[in-house]
């Protein structure tokens, strides 16, 4: 059976994946640079606190800008605007995606706590938490795309 073209929500999820990968890459790069320093000025907890605050702010701003740009470009190219209604299928897909995302994050935090308990290093604990934030976002978007594709 012929598959439908990518829907608005699928394209938006792809944009979201790109945003997530770029923002988290920059965060991981910052961490990499920090750990390369022999005698960093910033303390470890101070650095990670900053990183997480920066992450949330960056994610909100970059995501809003990217979404705005996507809406404009998508409208110009395809003439398609944001769907005016969100129906039961959209809600059910969203719920499944959020569910999977929540479990991924919970698993990540659990692994981070286990690491903290056994290895007793803050760095690894924070790195795992940062990774699980990224993984949970990616899982949600990938599941959205997969479910929209499956039912198209």
């Amino acid at each position: 059976m012929k598959k439908q073209q990518l829907s608005y929500y699928e394209k938006r999820s792809i944009v979201s994946i790109v945003v997530l990968l770029s923002v988290y890459s920059s965060m991981f790069y910052d961490a990499f640079v920090y750990y390369q320093l022999d005698n960093p000025q910033q303390g470890l907890l101070n650095f990670w606190g900053n990183q997480f605050l920066e992450l949330f702010l960056c994610l909100i701003v970059v995501y809003l800008v990217a979404l705005l740009a996507f809406n404009l470009i998508n409208k110009k190219i395809t003439g398609e605007t944001r769907p005016k209604i969100t129906d039961e299928r959209d809600n059910s897909i969203e719920l499944t995606a959020i569910h999977a995302s929540f479990y991924t994050l919970a698993l990540g935090v659990f692994v981070a706590m286990l690491t903290g308990m056994w290895v007793e290093t803050y760095s690894l604990l924070f790195l795992i938490i940062l990774s699980s934030f990224m993984a949970s976002g990616l899982v949600a978007d990938i599941i959205r795309i997969a479910l929209y594709r499956k039912s198209s």
């Binding site: 059976m1 439908q4 829907s7 769907p83 209604i85 129906d87 039961e88 299928r89 959209d90 929209y148 499956k150 039912s151 198209s152």
Partner: protein, 75 residues
């Protein structure tokens, strides 16, 4: 072969003045993609939506949807 929810939405659309998916979607307050997914048996609608669809074609719900064995039955 396992039982699946089958539907005649596509056939009923054509019997009702070649109604488009977009028109049916607009009457039932869902997106066109959802109607397409239902027609292709890729999505089972809620009871409320099933009743709305049957109501749009002015037929009993059992005329539109059935629970039967087999592959896609669309007409």
């Amino acid at each position: 072969m396992s039982k699946k929810i089958q539907n005649k939405v596509r056939a009923l659309r054509f019997e009702n003045g070649e109604m488009t998916q977009e028109q049916l979607a607009s009457v039932t307050c869902v997106t066109r993609q959802t109607i397409a997914a239902i027609e292709n048996n890729k999505y089972s609608p809620s009871l409320e939506l099933a009743f709305k669809i049957a109501d749009t074609f002015d037929v009993p719900i059992s005329t539109v949807f059935s629970y039967a064995e087999g592959d896609d039955v669309r007409d």
